[in-house]
Symmetry: C2
Subunit: 125 residues, 2 copies
């Protein structure tokens, strides 16, 4: 990951301080979603509300330890929450984070449409 220059520049990235500091955090969220198995997990949680780890393992063509790691990635990105229920772990979505990501993408398209209109007008000047 890192995203720093080797010359030790600040992580500021650019003069345009469009994004406060959430850029890296949002990248973590999107990268967490960027794997077919994890998307599958998210879909299962979305439709079922909650799942035990074991149910998810049964769903995927992956061994338990691998699934557990995928769950950890999603949990570290705050996309899901897990609670302990007896000897099992029960997972559910964290809708907030999911919404954040959705809103971000939405903003990109909206902003882009505005910019597009603007530049079209410009061409006519």
């Amino acid at each position: 990951m890192s995203f720093e220059t080797t010359t030790g520049n600040p992580v500021n990235l650019a003069a345009s301080d469009q994004s406060p500091s959430s850029d890296c955090e949002m990248a973590v969220v999107l990268r967490a979603l960027g794997h077919p198995a994890r998307l599958q997990i998210m879909r299962a949680l979305a439709s079922k509300g909650r799942c035990f780890c074991g149910e998810i393992v049964d769903m995927l063509p992956l061994v338990q330890s691998t699934v557990s790691q995928h769950l950890k990635v999603l949990k570290d990105a705050n996309l899901i929450e897990g609670t302990i229920d007896g000897p099992r772990s029960c997972y559910r979505l964290n809708t907030e984070k999911l919404n954040d990501a959705s809103v971000l993408l939405g903003q990109l398209t909206v902003t882009s449409e505005a910019a597009s209109v603007c530049s079209t007008n410009h061409d006519l000047t």
Copy 2:
């Protein structure tokens, strides 16, 4: 990437055929968005409409070849399009793909809310 079992199972993933085959493709899109530099590029394109490669290089604390590779990742994911303009390349967003991603995330949250309500009712039975 791969996402197959070592035992040679089909890539089908599960009995729940919720996602046709777009799961991998969507993962590519989300993973492409999952890097701070690439998010920054997307934002720049969203606000400016289009940018030359060089402008993007000036924006980021990364050398030209690295930026070029990030642009390639975004282009391979169909998130941006590039056209050649003289000796330069001009990039712009592909709003469609961005919309696809946004819609997918939206669906996850919506479905999740529905499931949540449903399971609440269930508890009361």
